[in-house]
């Protein structure tokens, strides 16, 4: 017990990345969770009287071109972006682990083929592929999640595969095999926990990429459908009114920056912590 708390202290101590990342992410998450229950104004309600109003005590970040409260929209928009990113990473991570573990553990021809397929997909810039697919299937939140989710599979699969390929001939796996453990048990009970050191940073980086991809796609107008707000689509709106309401673009941009910065630092911190443990 004593050694565990010590380990925890050591975990944070001297690891500024982890600490700051944790604080920023926690703050953003708190804002997002609050937005599900409460926002200062209804984010789609239009106030005829207050069109493009500057920041004031009523509207802390002012209003947009249709008189909607920008703070409320950022809160809701960050929530949308966050939820999409979580789903995307979940799809990518789960499928990636399954494919990667099977390939890495068993090897063989199936491994060779799947790995090449993954390589081929990674060879294209993800956002470009996503654009092509979305312009065929049509936009909308669901489509964005599915397309981005699928495109995120290869990066996870590769990481997981290399870990499994490394682990499968280690002594403790050999022992488990000799003791008669099934392949399923070895894959998910013995090896999977040992891949966490590389998987966790990969998940946080993947989350960053998902936020950016969603924002870019909505910015290009093929992501979330209006009048629902996501950070990307808001930035797109704000761009048109850069001269009239600069605070709109600035506050939306800062929200995206914070969301990504928090997770980047968290991932950097996790990697440092992992290195230190070794």
């Amino acid at each position: 017990m004593d050694s565990k708390t010590k380990a925890k202290k050591k975990f944070f101590k001297g690891n500024a990345f982890l600490y700051i990342g944790f604080v920023i992410t926690a703050a953003m998450l708190a804002m997002i969770i609050v937005s599900f229950f409460w926002t200062p104004f209804n984010p789609t309600e239009m106030d005829t009287a207050a069109k493009m109003a500057g920041p004031s005590s009523v509207h802390l970040l002012g209003t947009d071109n249709l008189g909607r409260d920008i703070l409320s929209r950022i809160m809701k928009g960050a929530g949308t972006t966050f939820l999409i990113s979580v789903c995307v990473v979940a799809i990518g991570c789960v499928c990636g682990i399954i494919i990667g573990s099977l390939c890495g553990y068993f090897g063989g021809i199936a491994d060779a083929i799947l790995t090449r397929v993954c390589d081929t997909i990674t060879a294209f810039p993800a956002i470009l592929l996503a654009l092509v697919i979305i312009s065929i299937t049509g936009g909308g939140t669901m489509n964005v999640i599915i397309v981005l989710g699928i495109l995120f599979i290869p990066s996870f699969a590769r990481i997981v595969r290399s870990e499994y390929a490394r682990c499968r001939n280690l002594n403790y796996i050999e022992s488990a095999r000799l003791m008669g453990a099934s392949s399923f048990r070895i894959i998910f009970v013995h090896i999977l926990p040992n891949t966490m050191a590389v998987l966790l940073p990969a998940i946080t980086i993947g989350f960053n990429n998902a936020v950016l991809s969603e924002a870019s796609m909505s910015f290009l107008g093929i992501g979330v459908k209006p009048p629902a707000a996501s950070l990307g689509s808001m930035l797109r709106d704000a761009q048109t009114y850069l001269r009239n309401t600069p605070w709109y673009a600035i506050s939306t941009g800062i929200a995206i920056a914070l969301l990504i910065l928090g997770f980047s630092l968290l991932s950097e911190g996790l990697q440092q912590a992992a290195r230190r443990e070794e």
């Binding site: 493009m52 009048p227 009114y241 001269r243 600035i250 990504i260 980047s264």
Partner: protein
């Protein structure tokens, strides 16, 4: 990773800094602009900012409306459009139409000179008609002119048509008179207009100077420089810096950031903006549903929120075409959600319905904004509208040509200014009848109007009846003609708006 984070932060900071700059420029440059305005004491030279390059200087190769409006100052037809929407004599001194509407007689004006000094002859006119019929890129002009037979008798040019065309004068105004055999228009255009060509630098400027030999009222300005900007944003920067004297086609968002050293004039964009309804698709095949939709939408609010003003239209005609515009139609469906619900109930949709509003992402402002406002209004009567932004090319192929849509937000204009150009498209079976509107009374009235070419008064009243039918049957939910603004240096005055894309510099003069 650290590097990436650092780069990202730097980018964000840079973006913020840029925003900051843009926010403060108007204040900084207001003083320098005053000097520009006062130094224009001579004020016989003007700089006009145009938001795109010219596609061709050749009168028959001009496709872009933005080019045509500039070349209006250089080229003229036998007749030309005036600010009221009438076609008045230009290179011709008079014109007449026969009883049956098949023969047009134009008398050549005496002493009209080309910019190269030679006098305009009937040969030049015949040449121009032939060249136009053979070469013009404007398909509707080509169709109208190529069937006409042009003969000359003394000073008269007699044009015979195989069948009546009530809009023929409008097409004649598009046949620019140029010297016979002259083929160098692309580099040195020659016409008969109030200004003559001086120089053209690609992506930079197009300069015209006063035509001293002009037969009509000569221009007050000695020199007009059309400064070409590659984007609307660049042009706004120039306005903020005070380096141009005149800019047209501005929206209310632009005007909000233009320094008040400019005089702002307002007019309309000459577009019939509406929520166009696919009359062939349920529930929009039901007149009551269409009317209910109109009652349920607060048109004034849509206009104010999404476009910053404008003029309500109530039908498929824009207000600047005053001869046919009927302002009273716009008030027939004042905002009344209770009445809308009543109509929905009568139509059997008391529980509302769900439909899509399609619009092109390129025109998100104002159409996407309008859709968002409409969605809020319709929710109050139980109708769910889904916004469906698509790419402009998909809009053209799926919505405009394929007619595969429920409702769409867009504005319609006309390339040749005629009432029938705006109204023919809604007749049953017309190729451009995107909304599948079919109304026997409308078809009949339109047909009668077409045949009444020799009786202008009757024709006008029949066209107005057509507009009334569109309004009465709520063919579409008509919204407005969007506001459009012109910013002009107060040292100049006299700018006139036309009901078509025209930038007439001949009426602009120094303010003193």
């Amino acid at each position: 990773m650290k590097k990436i984070t650092a780069l990202f932060l730097a980018a964000v900071l840079a973006a913020c800094a840029l925003c900051g700059c843009k926010g403060t420029t108007p204040a900084n440059t207001a003083s320098s602009d005053e000097t520009t305005a006062s130094s224009g004491a001579a004020a016989t030279e003007i700089v006009v900012g145009i938001p795109q390059d010219l596609d061709s200087l050749d009168p028959y190769q001009v496709g872009a409306a933005g080019t045509r409006e500039v070349m209006f100052n250089v080229y003229e037809g036998l007749v030309k459009l005036n600010p009221d929407g009438d076609y008045v004599d230009a290179v011709a001194s008079s014109h007449s139409v026969s009883e049956d509407g098949l023969t047009y007689t134009f008398t050549l004006r005496d002493g009209v000179k080309f910019h190269n000094g030679s006098e305009v002859t009937t040969d030049d006119v015949v040449y121009s008609f032939e060249t136009c019929a053979a070469n013009t890129v404007n398909e509707s002009v080509k169709t109208a002119i190529s069937v006409a037979e042009v003969t000359v008798s003394g000073k008269d040019i007699i044009i015979t048509l195989p069948e009546m065309n009530s809009d023929f004068l409008a097409y004649v105004s598009n046949v620019y008179i140029t010297p016979a055999g002259y083929t160098d228009h692309a580099t040195a255009p020659i016409g008969t207009g109030p200004f003559k060509f001086d120089s053209y630098k690609v992506q930079d400027s197009f300069v015209v100077v006063k035509n001293e030999d002009y037969y009509g009222t000569p221009a007050a300005l000695d020199k007009v420089t059309f400064k070409i900007f590659s984007s609307q944003n660049d042009r706004l920067n120039a306005l903020q810096a005070g380096s141009i004297d005149l800019a047209t086609h501005l929206t209310s968002d632009h005007v909000a950031v233009i320094p008040d050293t400019y005089t702002i004039m307002d007019a309309t964009m000459n577009l019939a903006v509406a929520l166009y309804l696919n009359n062939a698709k349920a529930p929009f095949d039901n007149e009551k549903v269409r009317q209910a939709l109109w009652y349920a939408i607060d048109i004034d609010k849509v206009m104010n929120m999404a476009a910053g003003g404008g003029v309500k239209i109530g039908s498929s005609m824009f207000p600047a075409f005053a001869k046919y515009f009927d302002a009273s139609l716009a008030d027939n469906y004042s905002y009344d959600p209770a009445k809308a619900q009543e109509l929905l109930k009568e139509a059997g949709y008391e529980n509302g319905f769900t439909f899509k509003i399609t619009y092109a992402t390129e025109y998100e402002h104002p159409y996407g904004d309008m859709a968002a406002v409409i969605k809020e209004d319709l929710a109050k009567v139980g109708i769910t509208a889904e916004l469906d932004p698509i790419e402009w090319n998909s809009w053209l192929s799926d919505v405009y040509q394929g007619r595969n849509f429920e409702t769409t937000l867009v504005g319609f204009d006309t390339s040749v200014l005629t009432a029938s150009g705006m109204l023919q498209r809604w007749t049953t079976g017309a190729g451009k009848n995107m909304i599948n509107y079919s109304n026997a009374e409308y078809d009949e009235t339109f047909e009668k109007a077409q045949k009444a070419a020799s009786d202008d008064e009757l024709q006008t009243s029949l066209y107005k009846q057509c507009l009334e039918i569109l309004n009465k049957t709520a063919a579409n939910v008509y919204i407005e003609d969007l506001p459009e603004y012109v910013a002009i240096n107060p040292a100049f005055t006299g700018y006139e708006f036309y009901p078509l894309y025209i930038l007439d510099m001949s009426t602009v003069r120094p303010a003193q």
